[in-house]
């Protein structure tokens, strides 16, 4: 159940199963990700007074924070957004650690391939960007800026027609599709990657077992190895994209188009 040594039936994509106290493999991986995130940053930030970082943990923690600061926050929100550094760093590393178990030998399952926790993370992001928008712009302005984007110079009739078309789309895309697509993007990417790895692993085994097809088994195996490498990239990229989209949404709420 916990170790990834057998190929479960495909129905397990929707029937999740559970263990004692409802703790199944997914939950164990999430606890692992939580502990890893906490341990890396707790050990890495113990020596606050040291001006020169030393040791593996402190270097890891400081360069990670530097990465989130320079690549995620400064690229989207600018200096205004530095207050969201703790949230975005935690988000990035929690998602990364629960993704990377996809290629961890013996586990080989990304916890984010089940949409429970991605949904919660997307809802937290949804609450944050709405809260920032309401706090920064006031409820009325926030709603108007989100639903009626500025159109520039245009005759009144054109504006009315455009808004009749645009307002429902903007409303749907800002308040409903945003959290939904955040959730689906993470969950479906990880599920797809996991299914590809499982398919090629099972295919290699099936080709190996039959007498003649053993000739083409190495091809399937080679693709399995290549896809495993690709999934490392995907695990990182999905964590990065979740964090940077959160930053972009907060940025849009903070600095409306005008």
């Amino acid at each position: 159940m916990i170790l990834g040594v057998d190929v479960p039936p495909v129905s397990h994509v929707t029937i999740w199963g559970s263990g004692p106290l409802g703790i199944n493999k997914t939950a164990v991986i999430y606890i692992f990700a939580l502990v890893m995130t906490a341990v890396v940053f707790w050990l890495g930030t113990r020596k606050k007074d040291a001006l020169v970082p030393s040791g593996l943990m402190q270097n890891t923690a400081e360069s990670s924070i530097g990465f989130v600061r320079n690549q995620i926050i400064m690229q989207t929100m600018g200096v205004d957004g530095l207050g969201y550094l703790p949230y975005l760093t935690t988000l990035f590393f929690f998602i990364f650690f629960s993704n990377i178990t996809e290629i961890l030998p013996g586990v080989q399952f990304p916890a984010n391939a089940r949409f429970g926790i991605p949904l919660v993370l997307a809802l937290v992001t949804w609450i944050i960007f709405n809260d920032v928008g309401i706090a920064r712009q006031g409820p009325g302005h926030y709603f108007v800026n989100s639903v009626f984007p500025p159109l520039g110079d245009m005759p009144l009739v054109g504006k009315i027609l455009m808004y009749a078309l645009l307002a429902p789309i903007e409303f749907l895309s800002t308040f409903i599709i945003r959290p939904f697509s955040l959730m689906v993007r993470l969950f479906a990417n990880m599920l797809a990657g996991h299914l590809i790895l499982t398919t090629f692993a099972a295919l290699t085994a099936a080709l190996w077992a039959a007498k003649i097809t053993v000739i083409i088994a190495p091809l399937s195996f080679a693709l399995l190895v290549a896809m495993t490498g690709f999934e490392v990239l995907v695990s990182f990229l999905q964590a990065f994209i979740f964090a940077i989209l959160t930053a972009v949404y907060i940025d849009i709420s903070m600095h409306p188009a005008h």
Partner: protein, 87 residues
């Protein structure tokens, strides 16, 4: 072996399951057309921008990933929908 057994078991049961499988294939395949073209445009233009102005490659790359993420979402909706469809 497991996959083979699974496929054989699917084939042996009633034919509506086969139709469901075809439907799933069509749903995902159709959902992948638009995003395929879209991601091609996004990445192609990003490469053009990076080649013309290598010093702005960092910014372009970040924006490119954002564009890919937005475009890719539609294909992933199709992927999820293919699982949701049941015969």
């Amino acid at each position: 072996m497991v996959l083979l057994h699974f496929l054989l078991a699917q084939a042996a049961s009633d034919p509506t399951k086969g139709l469901t499988a075809i439907g799933r294939g069509i749903v995902y395949g159709a959902a992948a057309i638009g995003p395929g073209i879209g991601i091609g445009l996004v990445v192609g233009n990003a490469i053009t921008a990076m080649a013309r102005q290598p010093e702005s490659a960092g910014t372009v790359r970040t924006t490119m990933f954002l564009g890919i993420a937005f475009t890719e979402a539609l294909a992933l909706f199709g992927f999820v929908l293919a699982f949701i469809i049941s015969g």
